[in-house]
Subunit: 134 residues, 2 copies
DNA sequence: TTGCGTGCAAATCCTTTGCAGTCCA
DNA sequence: TGGACTGCAAAGGATTTGCACGCAA
């Protein structure tokens, strides 16, 4: 895959891609760097940034820009989905809603447009049983 | 309003709030600072940042974090809405969909959460009559 | 008078970049 | 060998903060 993009297969790149392709969550750069350094202590943050940028351009990784702070990265090529974001813990919960997609299609159509993509983050908090208000 | 928040009514603050309450678009800090300095050249960027932060906390202004770069601010107190973004022209079309809100509430509830807010941008393109594919 | 508010500069945080040395093809 | 890749440090852009002074209440 690297070769098809004209990228050389270097030691650092090999490790970075291996860590990335195993990620099942949405780590930020620092966390990724930590995981990568666990394999090879010498790999620098810049190299991780540079490689991640290339992988995003290559379509292998999706970069999410949530609220301010570090971006978080996701392995691409999975079913489209959006996220619930627990604003207290930062935890992400994936969901897929065909109903939502349909709704957006209709909304766009009402304005004479068609949807080509969307970004949605739903900020939530745990709704414990003890919730007087609603 | 300031008084009720325990904020003093200073010269700079008066100008900042007046400029803000007239904004009908989504300016970023630099643009706002420009408008504010058009009234009083001595008002600093930090002061604009500091006041904006307070106004956001006070709920008078909404801070949008689109893709990377400067945040953009919107006068609050209008009906909640989201945006269709024409990805070719950059044009923003506001829309409000109670149906969407309900859907999100339900989705969150299914996961044991309640919605405290959301960010949605729907990227669209003009759907001309001539559209063979779907 | 008190202490919030301000301007300025410096500091932070996240990300990118210049440079010189390294190493893959 | 040549040019892509890397590590390091420094640069950049957005935002915040420390400090001393000024001003509203």
């Amino acid at each position: 895959m690297c070769r098809s993009k004209g990228l050389r297969i270097t030691g650092p790149r090999r490790i970075i891609i291996s860590v990335i392709s195993e990620m099942a969550d949405y780590p930020d750069i620092v966390e990724l760097h930590r995981r990568i350094q666990a394999v090879n202590r010498r790999i620098s943050l810049s190299t991780v940034y540079r490689n991640l940028r290339q992988l995003v351009e290559a379509g292998m990784v999706i970069r999410h820009t949530f609220e301010h702070g570090r971006s978080r990265y996701e392995l691409a090529g999975r079913l489209h989905h959006d996220h619930l974001v627990d604003h207290k813990t930062g935890k992400l919960i994936e969901f897929h809603s065909p109903e939502l997609e349909t709704l957006l299609d209709n909304l766009a159509a009402q304005h004479g447009y068609k949807v080509v993509g969307h970004r949605l983050q739903v900020y939530v908090e745990a709704s414990t049983a003890a919730d007087p208000q609603d």
